[in-house]
């Protein structure tokens, strides 16, 4: 009986180690924080004063240091929107949401910015179950899902041990059912974490930043124009051939356009 207590303790200490590790990955930037903090504050001040162009300059200076953050992207998006560049603002709201899918303000501003775009693409409605799953998934960040996944796996291991080593029937029974429940939870949580990860790493999303682009049937200037997209429309990139990208839009239309017209999220 005493051994189980020992196992439990060791498992929890393990998951604690895991958590502290993930935090270590997320925060390795201490050297430039002062500089970016200054830029951040002056950017905020400029924005409050209505000096959007200057604010944008400060924020992008932070971005050019190779740093990113959902809030930074969100503020840059706001600056672009105030400057009338809807395409770029949509791009940055999407970037913010990619980093932090739970950011409700970015979602709202994105909705407002998207209302100003010209293209009205009939989006195939999503299955309600998928929609629910997505909303559940975006409540917690990917890192948290990952930690949960690890913890649940530990729990599964614990219950398996209980089941295998339990001397008494009650212990073995609870070990068995505990294993099943923990395993199911582990699978669900891992799936959530995996799809969050996919969203994070997905670089296929892009936004049209030129005011109007013609999408052609092949990567060639002389090719037939298939359709026209306007600034701010979200597209998915499929492939890339020297300076041209193949894209598809929400209603399934496909075509080629020059890579300079779009920017990846």
């Amino acid at each position: 009986m005493r051994y189980f207590v020992i196992i439990l303790c060791s498992l929890f200490s393990l998951s604690a180690v895991a958590q502290s590790d993930s935090l270590a990955v997320a925060e390795p930037v201490q050297t430039v924080v002062l500089d970016s903090k200054l830029l951040w504050d002056s950017g905020n001040k400029d924005y409050i004063d209505g000096n959007y162009a200057s604010a944008l300059e400060r924020y992008t200076a932070i971005e050019q240091q190779g740093k990113y953050s959902a809030r930074l992207y969100y503020n840059i998006g706001n600056c672009y929107f105030k400057l009338g560049n809807v395409g770029k603002s949509i791009l940055y709201y999407n970037r913010a949401l990619k980093v932090q899918p739970t950011m409700e303000d970015a979602r709202e501003n994105l909705r407002i910015a998207e209302a100003q775009t010209k293209d009205k693409i009939a989006v195939v409605p999503e299955f309600f179950l998928n929609r629910w799953m997505r909303s559940v998934r975006t409540m917690i960040s990917c890192t948290v899902w990952s930690v949960l996944s690890i913890s649940l796996f530990g729990l599964v291991a614990l219950f398996v041990l209980l089941f295998l080593l339990g001397s008494r029937l009650v212990v073995r029974k609870s070990g068995f059912y505990g294993t099943i429940v923990a395993l199911l939870l582990f699978i669900v949580v891992t799936l959530f974490a995996a799809s969050s990860r996919r969203d994070m790493l997905d670089s296929r999303g892009a936004v049209v930043i030129s005011s109007a682009i013609s999408v052609k049937s092949s990567p060639d200037k002389a090719a037939t124009d298939m359709f026209v997209l306007h600034e701010g429309t979200k597209v998915t990139l499929l492939s890339e051939v020297d300076g041209w990208v193949e894209l598809t839009i929400a209603d399934g239309k496909k075509g080629w356009t020059e890579a300079s017209h779009i920017e990846r999220i």
Binding site: E27, I62, Y68, I112, K118, C142, L201, S211, F227, H230
Partner: protein
């Protein structure tokens, strides 16, 4: 009164009918001798009223019916001295002429009167040549007529000719061919009427300015005066054999005929002048129109000839939502009036308005020459650098039998942002389709003010090496734990089993020893041995460490194992032994304690083994 009147009426009627019936004659009147081509009258006379449609004319074989039949009716009634005479006349007249000389006859004509059929006799007619004037009446009028006929016969068939000639007999569709309508004459012409040009079906025709003439031209070895009545450039609009229908004109020519009148004075003419009318028609002219070779390039719209293309853009830099012009000029020689504007392929953010076309074309016998200019007004809707695809124009060159595609240079156009639209929302002005009423009172949410956690790498924990490491670690630890723990448990269980199995044996040995002490009456040793036997048994049997052995723990263990009734007995015996060990007074005889001890142990043993 009425009766009488009726009787009289009937009487008159009967009389009349009787009169008519008696003398019905039906005869043909025709001249005995006629000239060739001279019209003459043939009359069929009936002196009664014929039945309706009962007349059947004879066959006028060898004659041409010039006019007729014309019908004249007449009736007269004469009352002389009270006697009434009534006569009818019904005459059917034909005007005939005979083209050839010879003996002819007019066949039998029949007519019905009151159901009876009457017929004429066969009437012979001799047709004579005009030259044979031997028996001609020497009347002035007759001579005049013959002179006129002579005049007309003097005008030979090839003295007046109307000809439509084509410059070529075989052309491509859309290639010009020149048609010339000429009147050739060897006599003097005093007038013309009823000129009718061909309809030129299947052609697009362009009249040419021509000198009407007359010219001297030689045709078939004869010298003519030629008048150019019209010259046309024809552009066939369909392929195949196209027939140009005849042109017509009626010409009045002056013919001099020597008369036979005696010359009375110096001023008398030896010739009479006659005007002869002659209707002239051209022969249908067939033109072979070749189909253009297939396949034609996509930009071919029917231009045939030789052309040059020039295209310019009026300004290379405009601001969004303003207009510029692309002007394409096609100049050359061919069916230029028919060419269509070349298509202009614009980038999608451009709008093209109505194309304006101006032309300056001169039609010459060599073809239409000039230019057509097309202006394409375009409006740019979005800023950026654009390259407008070149204008393509394809024509067919009939001289080389090949298509020639002309291509202009591509147009480079820079569209600057629209200056007029509001600066803050440059895109809003182009939004037309969607309503954003909801947005009017809204604005985007405010920026985030708290300093963000800045990251430099995107590294989701899930599926990262660290993640897999931790997972592997968990598995390794779990497996290791499993092996360690299961071994220990197994060992432990073995020990317990061995001990349990030995417990009885050990207890029995100890009881034997105790029995020996009992026999020896060594009380201290006896009780000590009894206690050891019982404690030891419980300790071994239930795997309770010696350190944990108390009466309480034994009772709990027994109760837990469902032997609550033995717990009290067992602890009682132990208490008795402990008391008796050091007390001089015996509470119970050793043999009794011994028996109870063995009894309880064997009972517990049987319980545990069960």
């Amino acid at each position: 009164m009425g009766r009488r009147f009726f009787a009289l009426f009937v009487a008159i009627l009967t009389f009349c009918t009787a009169f008519a019936e008696q003398d019905v004659t039906f005869q043909a009147n025709a001249p005995m001798i006629v000239g060739v081509g001279e019209p003459f009258r043939v009359e069929f006379e009936l002196n009664a009223k014929p039945d309706d449609k009962s007349f059947s004319p004879p066959s006028f074989e060898g004659f041409n019916v010039v006019a007729g039949p014309s019908v004249s009716r007449g009736s007269s009634m004469q009352i002389i001295n009270g006697s009434m005479t009534q006569s009818f006349s019904y005459t059917i007249t034909y005007v005939l002429e005979s083209p050839n000389a010879g003996q002819r006859s007019i066949g039998v004509a029949t007519i019905g009167v009151d159901g009876k059929s009457y017929s004429t006799r066969v009437t012979p007619i001799e047709v004579r040549q005009h030259s044979d004037n031997s028996h001609n009446q020497s009347q002035q009028a007759a001579q005049e007529q013959s002179l006129e006929q002579r005049a007309s016969s003097q005008l030979a068939a090839d003295d007046l000719l109307l000809r439509l000639s084509l410059s070529r007999s075989s052309v491509y569709k859309g290639e010009a061919v020149r048609a010339t309508l000429k009147l050739y004459s060897r006599v003097s012409i005093v007038g013309s009427e009823g000129a009718k040009l061909p309809s030129f079906d299947g052609f697009w025709n362009q009249p040419l300015e021509v000198d009407q003439g007359p010219f001297r031209e030689t045709l078939n070895g004869k010298v003519y005066e030629a008048y150019n009545l019209g010259e046309f450039l024809l552009y066939p609009q369909q392929s195949g054999r196209l027939t140009i229908d005849p042109a017509k004109i009626t010409i009045t020519a002056q013919i001099f005929v020597r008369n036979n009148r005696p010359r009375n004075s110096f001023f008398d003419n030896t010739h009479d002048v006659y005007n002869v009318r002659r209707e002239l028609t051209t022969k249908p002219v067939v033109l072979e129109v070749k189909t253009l070779p297939a396949p034609a390039p996509a930009s071919f719209t029917g231009a045939v000839g030789r052309y040059a293309l020039e295209a310019t853009i009026s300004s290379a830099q405009i601001s969004a939502n303003s207009a510029t012009n692309i002007v394409a000029t096609i100049s050359g020689n061919g069916n230029i009036g028919l060419i269509k504007e070349p298509t202009l392929n614009l980038p999608a953010s451009f709008e093209l308005y109505d194309i304006k076309s101006t032309e300056q074309i001169r039609t010459t016998p060599a073809g239409s020459t000039g230019f057509r200019r097309f202006e394409y007004p375009i409006i740019a809707r979005a800023e950026g650098d654009y390259t407008i695809a070149p204008i393509e124009f394809t024509y067919f060159n009939p001289e080389t039998d090949s298509y020639v595609t002309l291509r202009s240079e591509s147009f480079v156009l820079t569209v600057l942002p629209d200056k007029n639209s509001t600066a803050s929302t440059g895109v809003v002005s182009t939004i037309v389709g969607k309503e954003d009423v909801k947005l009017l009172g809204h604005d985007i949410r405010f920026i985030k003010l708290n300093t963000p956690h800045l990251h430099s790498v995107v590294a989701p924990l899930i599926f990262s090496p660290l993640y897999w490491f931790i997972m592997a670690l968990i598995v390794v630890v779990a497996v290791a734990l499993y092996f360690i723990l299961s071994k220990r448990i197994r060992d432990n269980r073995n020990e317990v089993l061995v001990k349990g199995r030995r417990a009885n044996k050990v207890a029995v040995q100890r009881f034997r020893k105790a029995e020996k002490y009992m026999v020896e009456q060594n009380r201290h040793a006896f009780y000590e041995e009894m206690l050891r036997a019982m404690w030891g048994y419980i300790s071994d049997r239930f795997n309770i460490p010696v350190a944990d052995l108390t009466k309480e723990s034994i009772r709990e263990e027994l109760i837990r194992r469902g032997a609550a009734e033995f717990a009290k007995l067992f602890t009682d015996i132990i208490s008795q032994c402990e008391e008796a060990q050091y007390s001089p007074v015996e509470s119970a005889p050793m043999s009794e304690i011994y028996a109870r001890g063995i009894d309880i142990v064997s009972k517990i043993e049987s319980l545990v083994k069960r």
